[in-house]
């Protein structure tokens, strides 16, 4: 079985839970083994993870991002996997957050029993840590309310376009 799933119910509004998931740089605070995440572009994250003494780095493309509903990504380099996290409002201050990791495309090493077991354990712990983190804070550390569909960004209507020079560069 190369699918890992885990759901947690968190005692914050769906907007708060979703907004926190848009703040990739904060993931190391609750995801074990994640040392750093850079978010150089809306659709791209660069992950640095550590298992024992071994450091892995990989790029992941965010292919879908719908406010208060869903986030989906796929890695562009090894270890290959796809992931989604969905948000279901259970009430004004309660949300179900469900994570699904599909490791089908992973290499043989990542699919061995011990590696899968480790990954599953980390995912479960990570989701519990997220619950602890967001309930402890009570509010998100930041947000981006734009959308991504099929890798294409639709801007956050509240933020608009970034101010940059648009004149021709020769």
């Amino acid at each position: 079985m190369t699918i890992i799933e885990k759901s947690v119910d968190v005692d914050v509004p769906v907007r708060t839970a979703y907004n926190q998931w848009t703040q990739f740089e904060s993931f190391p605070r609750f995801l074990e083994g994640v040392e750093r995440i850079d978010h150089p572009e809306r659709t791209l994250t660069h992950w640095v993870t550590r298992v024992g003494a071994v450091t892995h780095e990989f790029d992941a493309e965010i292919v879908e991002q719908r406010p208060d509903e869903r986030l989906a990504w796929r890695t562009l380099t090894e270890p290959r996997h796809e992931g989604t996290v969905t948000f279901q409002s259970l009430g004004p201050v309660r949300t179900r957050v469900s994570l699904r990791l599909d490791l089908t495309a992973c290499g043989v090493v990542e699919k061995t029993g011990s590696a899968l077991h480790l990954a599953r354990r980390r995912v479960h712990r990570g989701m519990e840590s997220f619950k602890e983190f967001i309930e402890g804070h009570g509010r998100e550390t930041g947000c981006w309310r734009g959308e991504i569909r099929s890798g294409r960004v639709r801007p956050d209507p509240a933020q608009g376009s970034p101010p940059v020079p648009t004149w021709p560069t020769g």
Binding site: D38, P40, E41, R42, T43, L44, H46, D59, E61, L76, T77, G146, S150, G151, R152, V153, R154, P155, G160, S161, P162, P163, V164, P165, T166, W167, P168, T169, G170
Partner: protein, 768 residues
Amino acid sequence: MDDPGGDKPHITPPKTWTTGVPAVAHAMEYSLEQTSPRRTALTLLNINQTEGFDCPGCAWPDPAPGHRKRNEYCENGAKHINDEATSRRITPTFFEQYSISELAGKSDQWLNQQGRLTEPMVKHVGSDHYEPVTWNEALGLLAEELRRLDSPDEAIFYTSGRASNEAAFVLQLFARAFGTNNLPDCSNMCHESSGAALKETLGVGKGDVSLRDIHHSDLVFLVGQNPGSNHPRMLTALEQTKRNGGRIVAVNPLPEAGLIRFKYPQKARGLIGRGTRIADQFLHIRVGGDLALFQALNLLLLEAEDARPGTVLDHEFIENQTSGFTEFAAHIRQLSWKDVHTATGLTRAEIEKLRDVVLGSERIIVCWAMGLTQHKHAVPTIREIVNFLLLRGNIGTPRAGACPVRGHSNVQGDRTMGIWEKMPREFMDALGREFSFTPPAEHGWDTVDSIRAMLDGRAKIFLGLAGNFVRATPDSRITESAMRRCRLTAHISTKLNRSHTVCGEIALILPTLGRSEKDRQAGGEQFVTVEDSMSQVHASHGRLEPASRMLLSEVAILSQLARHTLGDKVDVPWDGFETDYHLIRQRIARVVPGFENFNERVVRPGGFGLPNPVNEGVFPTPSGKALFTTNEFQMPQVPDGHLLLQTMRSHDQWNTIPYTLDDRYRGIHGSRRIVLVNPADIRALGLTDGAQVDLIGVWHDGVERRADGFRLVSYPTARGCAAAYYPETNVLVPLDSVAEISNTPTSKGVVIRLEPSPLQAAAPRASA
């Protein structure tokens, strides 16, 4: 040193791979010829490092901090930086020894090899010698001549892409405070066509891809560019594309070695293996046939959509975020395959094979360089590339997009800082508000118009911030004549070049610090900033001791000149700018959008990126949508018995400066007066391989433009085409032969004929 003769060309078969061990050896050999092992080590270990200096060689971006190699440079960058770090010096004695007339007879290579300029020099009216002058006298003289002009518009302030953001901002501020928008730059001769096409169609005049996009793209086009010689670090990124499973298509009139195979010298596989194959498909296109190729490709995509509706085009994107599709599609369906074949020299089967590669690729990037931008129809060609990218939604998505590959290290940043003769109203308003003055409203002159203005006496003073104006520009004889008609010509330079020998009545050499050198001011050691080809803005810290204690930084020279010229006429703290560059960046932050908190953000390792609105789903066009355009079919018209010449640079050359007479990837050794022609064309013209020929430019003004004494070399260039080195062949490019809209000289599409040369030896000469 003696001026190299170049009369013994030795020709070997072109190489089929680049870099590897020979690149390391050649870089070291040249570096150690120029300077000591210690300085070589110091330059090479600091180049492109986060705490070091930005390589002035090209604008290719650096990997993110933490991912840079200890040796983050290429052969050409190493040569270029050690050419600047040379231990050779030009002192006033040199100028006593050589008159300006004598120097004008020397080759570009010889002038460069004399070493670093060390003191300000002046040529007075009627003199044929440069003489030492103090900085105060030199800048006072220039200021006085500027003030004596009848109009500020009689002055021209040219910028080359080496200038830092800070120097560029100060220069444009000075020029506008003085009262003119005459701010031509080297962009006018390079990617102006790209900026014009991208601004019109996407709303932003820059590319929209990152280095990571290149690494992870499914398909990368390399069109009209030669990464092996002109931006070799790009090959490392392309190798990464291949290792990640992406494919590469190369489109070029010359089968350049860098398009075929790459051996990465920092990996064992590059040292002992066969290296990485770069192009999966090579399209041997005729010079100037790229518009036809992309139109044909777009037609094939439309037809593929007709055959399998809903599977080829990105209808949702086209419907919601673009305009002009219907007109574009109707126009492209009228394309004639006969015309396409004539223009491209390619078969329909080759283009259909390319279509299949495109259909098998989800995310596509198109990269291009001068091979596209320096044609009469350059802007339509690049607009057609945008059409191609829009059709399948390859704009505004990750791992896809448009990638104009810029040459000069800060050419993009200089434009961002306002070096342009027609900056938009919002920039001018912000500048005026910040410094409490009214910038001139009338547009200024670009490079071609500046030459025309000097030629007919409307411009009287030329100041060049870096660069080698007379050798970078077209129509050398005309341009030199224009410069000689000036009252005063002045150049802010690190090394001697031909522009110093083509003088106005008065001439000034204003020697400046190189990028690699420590910049100490009253406010402490300074750093400067640059913007790379992918809009990353970062710091550059000089690490070497300056070549002379007499050198001033570019910022210092310009600030002092502004103070001499304007006094307190405008509310600009020129002294403060010179003392502490943070103060300049504070002002940039308030004038240029996207530079908020500039000082804080730029000191982070790797600096910061200027986001492209296109990647945020925003197209800042008048309609708010990306624009499909309708481009009339065009191709260069070449009469029978003539060839279409592209000018090009050799591998051992940086912009206008040849380091040696060799071009080893193309198998040319010991000469630059070489013209590469397809063997079938040589036979058809009744000539023989190795013959001495003159190149005669054909243009409708009746002026004979001749470059003489070239050796004809049988070479696998596309049929009907020829290639020869610039600046030697700039003499053949008519000043009035320019690209539509962008006004860029058409240096890649020059109609020539060949005549047997009466010269038996191919001796180097500055211009015909």
